[in-house]
């Protein structure tokens, strides 16, 4: 794992140039809440912007665990599914709760599960830990399939949001769902920065860099590791709820299968370990690449050269090749590439640390 010890150092100059940063944040907010909803059409919002943001949030969740604390999880999608099913059941069974509160509660429920499945991390490491997090992956997929109480005795085991509204606004249109996702993302990004800049964040990085040393200087390693699992799952849980209701519209347990967990892992590795904004680059890659490959195949009309099935398989191969090439050529992820392209000091993504 890349160990940017300078992540800590990176922060310092940024504090001094706070005012351009505030301006940049304002700019991002204006774009996010003014420009995008105004110019984005249904297709853009529904199939590209929303899934990118949501997967980026899931990436942040895993990055907090992997990039900052140095722990592995191959079960991110399980915690996403907990968030989705918790949101559904809270909305359905406790109708007095407003949506924002439900999302937070769903995140907390997912966090509790995260702490529970983080327990092995106190005893084991490396791939043993990674493989054991798969237990969560398969267990929850089974749980939400086997007991249809979770899907309100639905015949198809599928959940769909009974109502999507906040502060009296109906959020079921594409723009509404985008706003829900964007506001949640803004809050969660701010929260993520607050955490990694706090004492907890610094202690995580100390554990990541060398846990015995961290213990020597008085860090409560076990507690911090579990907290890391909890917070990571909190982010994943909310991302899962947004994935189910902000993007898909409906979901079943299999929408959060192992492939989804691997996608989250790809996002972190492609976007860059121990960054926040890098996750959105990784997510954009994961969401856009299959669509782009499909589009190129359509636009260039290769069907004359080869048949459709071959084309689909070639896309599959290219996707794999691009991942391998990225891993070889960009060890620190897209975020670091961007960092090198833009002169230092002016780049807000440095804040990603």
């Amino acid at each position: 794992m890349p160990q940017p010890a300078d992540a800590l150092l990176d922060d310092r100059p940024l504090r001094r140039i706070a005012s351009p940063r505030v301006l940049l944040i304002l700019l991002v907010l204006v774009i996010a809440f003014g420009v995008v909803p105004a110019i984005g059409n249904d297709y853009w919002l529904s199939s590209i912007v929303i899934p990118t943001i949501v997967m980026g949030l899931a990436g942040i969740g895993l990055n907090l665990l992997m990039g900052y604390t140095g722990l592995v999880s191959l079960g991110s999608a399980a915690f996403m599914s907990i968030g989705a099913f918790a949101t559904y059941n809270l909305l359905l069974r406790v109708p007095v709760l407003p949506l924002p509160l439900v999302l937070v509660l769903a995140g907390l429920i997912s966090a509790v599960a995260g702490v529970l499945f983080g327990l092995p991390s106190l005893r084991i490491k490396g791939f043993y830990l990674a493989a054991s997090t798969l237990g969560a992956q398969f267990f929850f997929e089974w749980l939400f399939t086997n007991y249809n109480w979770f899907s309100h005795e639905s015949q198809s085991l599928t959940i769909s949001a009974p109502r999507l509204e906040a502060f009296g606004h109906d959020l079921s249109s594409a723009t509404g769902r985008y706003l829900l996702v964007a506001v949640s993302a803004a809050v969660l990004i701010a929260l993520a920065f607050a955490i990694i800049r706090s004492r907890v964040g610094r202690e995580w990085m100390a554990i990541r860099d060398m846990d015995t040393a961290a213990a020597v200087i008085g860090i409560h390693v076990a507690g911090r590791k579990l907290l890391s699992y909890g917070i990571s799952s909190f982010f994943c849980g909310i991302a899962g709820a947004l994935w189910a209701f902000g993007y898909l519209g409906t979901a079943d347990a299999h929408a959060f299968n192992l492939d989804k967990s691997f996608q989250v892992l790809f996002i972190v590795l492609i976007g860059g370990s121990a960054t926040i904004f890098g996750n959105f680059l990784g997510a954009a890659f994961i969401v856009l690449m299959p669509i782009a490959l499909d589009r190129i195949a359509l636009a260039t009309d290769l069907s004359a050269l080869t048949d459709q099935g071959a084309l689909a398989n070639i896309q599959h191969i290219i996707f794999g090749v691009i991942i391998i090439v990225l891993l070889i050529k960009e060890p620190d992820g897209l975020a670091s590439l961007l960092r090198r392209l833009v002169p230092p000091g002016t780049n807000p993504r440095r804040a990603g640390g």
């Binding site: 249904d42 249109s173 519209g249 090198r340």
Partner: protein, 447 residues
Amino acid sequence: MPSSFVKILAFAGALGLAGLAGAPPAAAQDHKGEQLYPLFTYRTGPYAPSFIPFGAGNRDYLTYVNDVEGGVDGVKIFIQECETAYTIERGIECYERYKNGYDGALTAAIYPHSSGLDVALTDKARIDKVPIVSPGGGQNIATDGRIFPYQYPLMFDYWSEAQIVVDYIASKVGGYDKLKGVKIVTLYHDSGYGRDTIEPLGILSKKYGFEDIQIPVPHPGEQQQTQWQQIRRAQADWVFLRGWGVMTPVAIKTAARVGFPADHIIGDIWSGSEDDARPAGGAAKGYLAVSVFPPGTDYDILRTLKAKILDAGKSDLKDNTKFGTVYYNYGVIEAITFVEALHVGHRKFGNRPLAAEEGRWALENLDIDAKRIADLGAKGLISPLKTSPDNHKGETITAKVIQWDGAKWNTLTDWIKADTSLFADTIRAKAAAYAQEKGITPQTNTN
């Protein structure tokens, strides 16, 4: 750093891709005056073996309509593929891409080719007012068109299938009165699809007195030793096998391992293709399956396709031995429902591409009767299909029973008709409960 130029190029390329991916669809108008058929594909992944012959049947029939018949009443069909890899998220992207037409061609209906995607699109389609059509694989409760105006679970459902299986078993044991004490195991794929028959079999078991045993197989189903040991221990008489993908051949093989006879296993419509039986080798000999898409090439329409498409080198099939297989014929049948709906729409709205709302009207007024089937050259391939605003599935629900002889499927029975009145009340009540949960007011007949 020496390679950074390359990296910048690569990144710029990636951004270019992003731009291409995000380019709003339907910018050009090259296909104005044509009817869009968004073909949702899954040519990769575990279910590709089912899709490839299916997609070929689908495409070949539409190619035939375009090239030989000059389009549907003169309106050409514009096929655009979109690979979903059988995942819901990519399916949703495909839906968003094509729901409002593409390149000037209009969308009249969308065939998602996946039961899961059908469910996932229910809410979106209601808001967007786009008909979602799933012949054989739709949601049973969506039969009620007043509550599900945009869902079309045409032709078949798993509840009727359960009933047809029980009917067939009754005919084998010598009448319904002999069903008492007979043990029927349902071995199902543990998913929404697989669980769908638990309720109707419960109802049927109460009615006829057979013993109803339900055993799940977790996805994907590559190990079924314990399930079949349970079946053997229960001394089951019949197994109703509701598999999908690899689960089916493994079930047939494992049955042979524990010594359960193949001719007492009745496969679901998704367990009854050549690719389900052939991999099981000798163990599959005698294996039965329910079929709504009968295999074979002995139909006029297939002979026409062979002459005009296959032999003319226009077929989408790479491997011509797949011609006339269960999934190829399913593809043809599904394309027929689309083309027939367009004919119905053209009679009301004129011979021009139909928009989604017109497509909906057409799908609600489908009437493929015996005479039309004969004209199509599809006698024995499809049974009559007549929909109405109240009934989006069609009035007659039928299926055949087919048997694997070790090399190919043979049709054992004629169409077995399901008694749709048996479950009608239960399904109506479920639909009404759904409407209440979603806050939908059932639409009144506006025709």
